[in-house]
Amino acid sequence: MIVLLNGGFYTNRYVYICISRELEIKHKKGGTTMKKTFAIALIIITLIATLGIYHLSNPGREILRISTTTSLEDTGLLEELEAQFEKKYPNIDVQIVSGGTGIALERGKKGDADLIIVHDKKREEEFIKEGYGTKRYPFAYNYFYILGPADDPAGINGTQSATEAFNKILTVAEKDPQHVKFVSRGDNSGTNLKEIKIWENITDYNSTVRGSQWYIESGSGMGDTLRLADQKGAYTLSDSGTYLAYKNKITLVPYITNGSELLNIYTAIPINPKKIKSANYDAAMKFIEFLLSKEGQNIIGKYGENKYGKPLFTPLYGKTEP
């Protein structure tokens, strides 16, 4: 400070003396400890930076970026497949990013992924038609569950199909919207679109279902939606993986757990390198090969057995999709 101000201090001697006293006191107080402080701060920052560089370094491995949906990522299956695949191909670094089906496909279109794994046949076919993907490779399936409160106010227990159950919920809910409720994801996810499709089988979704007093749109992920439905004592549609993960935390029970309407097929699609120049097609195909191999299919078929008491997925073993 004093050095800084020494330019022309004679011009105002009195002020200088007053201020310099004050500054000097401050300076003495801070002088040596300040240096120490800086040294310690510097050491800490260097330590963290070193740690960081160690973490951020990616020693010459080829990157395979997989864009997938949250419901699949949440089950933890891909993590398991990733570990086994990387053991086999140590030179490929698998990076998984997840989001709703919409953003998962968008990432593929923008060139930010090499492989997409989703579960919405209609949108998958559009994706390939537009030239972004080469081919659909279905590899496993499971079923959506229709869940509801244990006392079953709409009486769907014993119905034979999803449409029948939804029909019953609709009829009873319109009469008694206080006691029969339905919670929807309301987020355009694969699960949400599946649900809307079932409503469309029986009625006009936009005029009779959406906006009704008994119909609640959560606008959030599957886990949050399950908790909301549980709190409200409402019916809902869930993928089996998320339901099994939440089974012990909620009181909802599954009523309909299979049937072609509730089929949920997972498909891998490599990004077309002709359309997206940056796509790593070779690595994507290696992953698909692994996914469809006996080894990969065995991992899928066993996944979840230990944790949930039953496997979460049924592998296709080369059969065509059901």
Binding site: L4, L5, F9, I19, I48, G76, D112
Partner: protein, 228 residues
Amino acid sequence: MDEILQGILKALELIITLDPEVVDTTSRTLMISISSTLLASLIAVPIGAIIHFKHFKGKRAIINIIQTLYSIPTVLIGLLVFLLISRSGPLGSLNLLFTPWGMILAQAILILPLIMGFSITALKGVGEEIIDLARSLGATEYQTLFTLVSEARYGIMAAIILGFGRAISEVGIAIMIGGNIRGYTRVITSAMALETSKGNLELSIALGIILLAISLIINTLLNYFQEK
């Protein structure tokens, strides 16, 4: 309620056993947030000082805009930076999307207005007489600026701590730009979001407690140094 107690126990367990995944995620979180805070501070503090120091037309409007940007949603920054650094975006060739570098960039943009605005406020707290004094003692413009900043250092430090707090606790950018890739861009907040949707509520709470513990340590260190 049981989950909260379980979460606290789980947090202790993870800390005591130095769970490798937690240590990994935590150090990555620190690295990214500290880098973004440093980057943002290096830009925001000098520019904030210049804005405060200079008298020009539209100064009020600029300060108003900076303060408005305090409340910019993290998801909006995430989306804008995503479009910018996506492979089909203008900075696509840099390959920043889904990397820690992209996260540092986006977080720095997020907290830049915060640090800049609060630095300006801190500088306002320094009396005008210090400027006059420095000038009258023959300090150059640069020297005056430096004097001003060093007089306001406590307030500026508070601005930086606030920026760090926003960077380390945000989740929108971590997921949009980082992609929550395990072992590469997964940070504490995005791991919490994932564990919550997996139904592992205890683990999620435990991670939250660890994040708060880190903030406590950092703030204690900074306060300790400040009081010295």
